[in-house]
Structures are given as structure tokens and as C-alpha cells.
Amino acid sequence: MRPFTTDIFWLPKAGNTTAEYEDAHFVGKWKKRFTQPRARLALAIADGATEGMLSRQWANLLVRRYVRHLPGPEHLEDWLSGTLRAWQYEKGHYLQQRERNNKPVQWYEEPGLEAGAFAALLGLVFDVRDAERDGTRRGLLSWQAVSIGDCFLVQERNGDCSCMFPFDESSALNNRPYLLSSNPARNRGIAERFMFAAGKASAGDRFYLMTDALAGWFLRECERGAAPWLVLDSFRGAGADPEFVEWIETLRVAREIRNDDVTLVRLEVPELAD
């Protein structure tokens, strides 16, 4: 079985520097692990809230810990507790660094640090074992996804969006999503806020994970009968790919996409047996 093909594209909000990009993405090391029959393959994206402090750091912690621990629905609360402990350590380290660098926390930073950081998270995991168990080794691969907030996942097969998650209408997007907070007091009832999805994948299926601004464009295009995945498939570079950057900038100028950080992870499912 060949490894999955993944491409990542991202750029910060217009007017912001790369250091101010507050989305995050992380793709597990599947090429290496894929040779192990029981391995799972995972990736995640997150979108740190504009309002709030240390949003970028929180988003990065979430994607890394999701890929490392792959919490299923039954383990999410434990995973969140561990993540909040890890955050306390990371935040403490940040504050120590500020002190060491003689840059004490200012009065206007204190409320934000106390309120906590906020981010949307979407994680996707493919289970290789299911494919291996298929007698012909040409079976279907299973996947599971978890989401909180307004990151977006699409599965495309033969020109159809066979799955959109966790919403399927552009009207579902606004500037006030419920997000995962680094402050436990802001996470009341969080267990009911997580959304789950699961499905099967075949060779040639494409998965697109994207943050909310691009999701809004994608859904509006679908709603007018277009095939936006063809556009997303056309980019050949990765990271700050000049063609991707130019395309997003054009959409921004035309106000067809909200000026926000943009992240796209594109994944193609390989032939399950060579």
C-alpha cells in the first residue's frame, strides 16, 4: 500500500505577518507508521480565535495532542484534562520567558490570559486495520472525525461530496462559534459540543480539511452548483504556494472570502493494495 498523499496550504490574514497566523495544522508521520499493520493515521487542523491571548499556541497544542493521542468519543474528557494540564505547563513557560526577557505582562494582557485561549479543532483519523482485515486487501478504509467549532471537512468521491462535516450550509458559519477553551470555566457542557462523524474511504477519495473562511467560500460555491474541489485540486505547491496565495488574495479583494487566516489540508487515499 502506498502512503497517503497530503498537501498543506496556508496563509495569514491580509495585513498580518506569518508570526501572527493563528491557525494550526499537524499531520501524523504516516509514511513510516503505515508499514505497521495496526497503525492509525491522523491529522488535525485548528483555528485560534482572533480575540484572546496565546491563540496560536493553544491551536498548536490541540492539533499535536490530538494526533498523538487520537481520543475517541469515550476518551475525550480524559484527553481534555491532559491537554489542560499540558497547557498550564506551556503557559507557565511562556510567562517565565516574558520575565526572563524583561517583558512583564501588561495590565491589558492580564484579562485575556485569565479568560483563556480559544480555538476550533477538527481531527481526522484513518484506521488501517480495517483495510488489512479485508481478505483481498482491497477493502474500504474506515475514518473517524471529531470537531468542535467551525473547522470543516469534506470527503469527495468521483465528483460528489459524499460527506460534509460538521455542517453543510454556509449559513452555519458566523463570527461567534463555541470553541474549545484553555480555561476549564469556559468549557462547561463541552462534552455535548463535540461532534463526531465516521465513514469509509476508497482509493482515489479526496479529503479536504479547512478553516472557516475557506469553508464559507467552499459551501457558497456548492450552493450555487459549482464544484469547488476542482479549484482546490488544482494547486500543486504546498505551504505558502504562490498560486494558492494569489488565488486567496483575489477572493479577498472580490470579498468572496472573509479576510482571515486560511488553512487547507488536502489528502488523497491511495490504492489499498499495489
Binding site: G52, N175, R176, S181
Partner: protein, 278 residues
Amino acid sequence: MSYSAEISRSNPSCFLFVIDQSGSMADPFGGQAGKRKADGVADALNRLLQNLVIKCAKTEGVRDYYHIGVIGYGSKVGPAFLGALAARQLVPISQVAENPARIEERSKKTDDGAGGLVEHQVKFPIWIEPVAHQGTPMRQAMAMAQEILNGFVAAHPDSFPPIVIHITDGESTDGDPTEAMRNVTNIQTSDGNVLLFNIHLSSKAAQPIAYPNASDGLPDEYAKLLFDTASELTPFMQSIAQEQGLDPQPGARGFVFNGDLALVIQSLDIGTRPSNLR
């Protein structure tokens, strides 16, 4: 569509506070003994400025999404910032953040995450002190606001329209201010007209009123004048007011009687604001 321009460092908007510092502001506030209207103004304004700064704060500093001005009117009409910002008409918000006249410590109760409250000390920056002297030259103050905003709009013609927050007890002593207020709200960018919010502080111990859509039931002629001259809430502000249970009716205006204007800050759209962050 109006009131949809992006607010960013490259396309900042503007907040201009116009505050009554006349002698009548020394009268009691809302029937409360020991608290003067001037104290109410200073508290409200310092809190608004604090919230505005916090909204623009990131770990690398305060982003200049807004330019801020404060005009006081009483014994004179002019910039009212104290300390290093004294005499400045409009300053980027990062300079407001860096230059309070002083910082007080106040106690605050917050959610402890386990169903209880915990009291702790918080910093409360002061840019404006209570002042109450002489007459109420409201027309003159609005003329100065008009001049300042004309300058801002000329420099930022495509910005989200400036927001004027006017805090007063409503008794103008230099004539009817209606036309001067209309002159302010007639100023526009390509994204819409200047938004005027009037906050009316009264000595009467009347129930607070927030964002009415008619002047019926307002307690006096001053309140009615301030209602008539206030701008209508934008659709986005309406939606935030709705979310907060204020139940604004169509045509609701930016008028508040003996209340606070927290909604104005909460309804500023500079990017994603989590619904679980209040």
C-alpha cells in the same frame, strides 16, 4: 452593504468619546447617595476604554484597530485625556494602552470553574478623572467632534464609520444641540454614516433603559432629545443585543438611560469572538 468594512491595522476605525463635565454632573447619579454623575461618567469611560484596549490586545502588543479621542465639555471644550496624552485629540489605541494617567487596584469576583466565585485584585487604569464645572456647551462640543471626525474620515475614507459615544445629563446650556449632532451623524465613509450613541445619566432613580425604538416613556425632554439624535443600531449590533437578551425592536437606537454601553464594545467585529467568551 453598510457597516461591513473590515476593521484592521491598515484600515482602522475611530472611537470619539464626548463627555459632559459641567457643574450639574456633580448632582447625585440615579438617586444613589454618594455617587455623583461625574463619577458615573469617569467610571463608564475608563471601563469602556479598558475594554476596548483589551479587545485589541494580543501577546505581541495592542493592535491599532482604532484611533481614540476624548472631548470634555464644561468650563472649557477640548481634549480630556490626562497624563501623557493630555491635549491629544486622536491617538492610536496602543498609545492609550501604554499611557493611562495611573492604574488602580480593584477587587473583582470571577467564576472559579467549580461553581463558585473567587475574589481577586484587578488593575483598573484611569485616563479620565471626574470633573464637574460650570456650563454645558454641548453644541460647541459637537462642533469640535465634527471637526475631528472630518479629519479622520478624510484620512480613512473607507473605514468602518467612526463611533461617537456621548455621555451627558442632557441639559445643554449653549442652545439646542440637535443640529450639531446631525452634523456629526451626517459625516460618512464609504461604509456608512458616523454612529452616535447617547448615554444619559440622570439624577432620577428611574429604571435603566437600553436601546429603545421609540421615545414614548422616556423620563424627560432631555432623554427624548438624546434618543432622537442617536443612530439606529446596525444589524450586527442588533444581533449581539438579541444574543444578550436585550430584545431590541426594529429601529432600536443607540440610546441608554442610566445604564452602560458595554454592548457597543461587545458588538465590535474585529474577528472571531468565541460565544463562550463573555
